[in-house]
């Protein structure tokens, strides 16, 4: 006898599976484009949402429709290599610090300061070179060698390990940086290293008042508020410093990811393309599947040297067959195959 219970059970089973199917679809991050939202809003209500608002929105992350810059290919490639070195240095520092244990114990604070001062010196030397532009390759080698020579043994060992690790390319063709596990806080190389060093060793200076018993989440929220306030009143360097601080002390909290979004925007507002590149790389190491990862990868491909670009887009498609930038990726690959 069937009183309808079997039918209901079958339907319930079906709905459970269907729900699983749609939840799986919804779980993958969707493509975002804030500028497109504001443009649409302007079309809906030109008086309420002004053209200048559209213009302003184009400055915000993500990086969709970013124009490719014209620059000397060789210099671009060198800068690319150089930035990869900087990224590796920071990854090495972070790895070393992770091995040493987090957070730094009170008794080790001085040692910690010295370590970070040494690390900052390496990167300061490296970052300085990006400004020089000409003779990048030669100068970079010299300065990095000098900085390396002065670095403590633990830094050298860590760098050596990193170098060896980077000689082994992952089987799926992704970069080693992308394969690195989500790191403990990596110092933002885009900020002035001295400022970062100060921020690490003297967190109270120029920082919002902090209760020592305050939780990390509260600290991050407080920093976020302060950064937003600084931005609102137009103090962009302070806003940038505070957002960078969030990325330094935070781990995988949502506010950290959003801080990266703000740092991307600030870098673009300043017209600092190399900072954007450094930030994208750093972000991808920490949030390989984050909400800005699609844009960050596309941004890196757009900035890649002519020789590396096709390979970069190919890897982009491999990783994100449904990525928001797939049309451009396919176009680039088609053009590359015609050449």
């Amino acid at each position: 006898m069937n009183d309808g219970r079997e039918e209901q059970q079958e339907l319930t089973q079906f709905l459970g599976d269907a729900s699983e199917g749609v939840q799986a679809l919804a779980a993958e991050p969707g493509s975002r484009d804030f500028a497109a939202v504001v443009t649409m809003a302007h079309r809906l209500d030109p008086d309420g949402v002004s053209a200048s608002a559209v213009e302003e929105a184009c400055q915000f992350a993500p990086v969709i429709a970013l124009p490719r810059e014209r620059s000397d290919v060789r210099q671009e490639r060198e800068l690319d290599d150089f930035l990869a070195d900087v990224q590796r240095h920071w990854t090495a520092m972070a790895g070393e610090r992770r091995m040493a244990g987090l957070p730094l114990l009170r008794g080790h604070r001085e040692a910690g300061r010295r370590r970070w001062a040494a690390a900052a010196a390496v990167v300061a030397a490296a970052v300085l070179l990006s400004v020089v532009g000409v003779h990048v390759q030669r100068a970079r080698k010299t300065v990095l060698e000098q900085a390396y020579a002065q670095a403590p043994t633990y830094v050298k060992e860590s760098l050596e390990n990193q170098r060896q690790a980077h000689h082994v390319r992952p089987a799926d063709g992704r970069s080693a940086a992308e394969e690195a596990p989500p790191a403990e806080p990596i110092v933002s190389a885009h900020t002035n290293p001295t400022a970062v060093q100060v921020a690490r060793s003297e967190p109270a200076r120029r920082m919002p008042h902090r209760n020592p018993t305050q939780s990390l989440v509260d600290q991050l929220a407080q920093l976020d508020r302060a950064a937003q306030d600084a931005w609102r009143v137009g103090d962009l360097p302070e806003a940038e410093r505070l957002f960078a601080r969030i990325t330094v002390i935070g781990h995988r909290e949502r506010v950290v990811e959003l801080a990266y979004g703000d740092l991307f925007t600030l870098a673009r507002q300043r017209g600092s393309s190399w900072r954007e590149v450094v930030l994208w790389r750093e972000y991808l190491v920490r949030f390989p599947n984050g909400q800005f990862s699609d844009d960050a990868r596309a941004g890196l491909c757009r900035r890649a040297s002519a020789e590396a670009r096709a390979d970069c887009w190919s890897r982009y498609l491999e990783r994100a067959p449904r990525g928001a930038h797939r049309a451009q990726a396919e176009r680039e690959l088609e053009q590359a195959s015609d050449r």
Binding site: N2, E7, F14, A24, M40, A57
Partner: protein
């Protein structure tokens, strides 16, 4: 964090585009999940979420914070989705899917099977009147309570339960008709 969101909303209402950008980044995922559940299609959901945020930006001056901004956005999204549902093209697309009867399910992997079932379900949902469809999706797929669902669609919890039940019955009949569910003994 809600304090931060409130501050961002206040700034966005005064035309601070950066604050609005932050809200967009912060609220996107939740809204995307909601709209994907309503439509069953990621690509369509992406477009509709963009439209939802655009409409919200236009309406922002009239938002006075009586409810959380996420609830307000979900309401706008539901209206955007309703407009989408009303388009004939959408209905036709779903109807096409309904024609496809299930093949042997023993050989397909589970993920694929779940997605196929989801497609069939949305095809059946497309045939329902909007109030039944909304109540069913919010209750059965998003797992909202009758009270939460009632708040979203603007009716009573009792009415939501009745609608969801009716929707379920109609869906069962439709899925049986196209062969996804087995026919009960004694029926033709």
């Amino acid at each position: 964090m809600s304090e931060i969101v409130e501050a961002l909303v206040a700034r966005a209402r005064h035309g601070d585009m950066h604050a609005w950008a932050r809200l967009y980044q912060d609220l996107f995922d939740g809204l995307f999940r909601h709209v994907t559940c309503l439509t069953g299609d990621r690509t369509i959901a992406e477009d509709l979420v963009q439209e939802t945020f655009a409409r919200a930006l236009v309406k922002l001056p009239s938002f006075h914070g009586q409810s959380p901004i996420s609830t307000w956005l979900h309401g706008i999204a539901l209206n955007v989705v309703r407009t989408h549902w009303r388009s004939q093209a959408t209905m036709r697309k779903h109807a096409d899917v309904l024609v496809a009867s299930p093949t042997s399910t023993e050989t397909v992997d589970r993920t694929h099977l779940c997605r196929e079932k989801a497609r069939a379900l949305y095809a059946a949902l497309a045939l329902l009147p909007e109030p039944l469809r909304e109540a069913f999706i919010l209750r059965e797929l998003e797992g909202l309570s009758p009270a939460e669902t009632a708040l979203r669609v603007g009716t009573t919890p009792e009415n939501v339960s009745v609608r969801a039940h009716r929707a379920r019955e109609r869906i069962r009949r439709e899925l049986t008709r196209v062969g996804w569910l087995s026919r009960a003994e004694g029926t033709s």
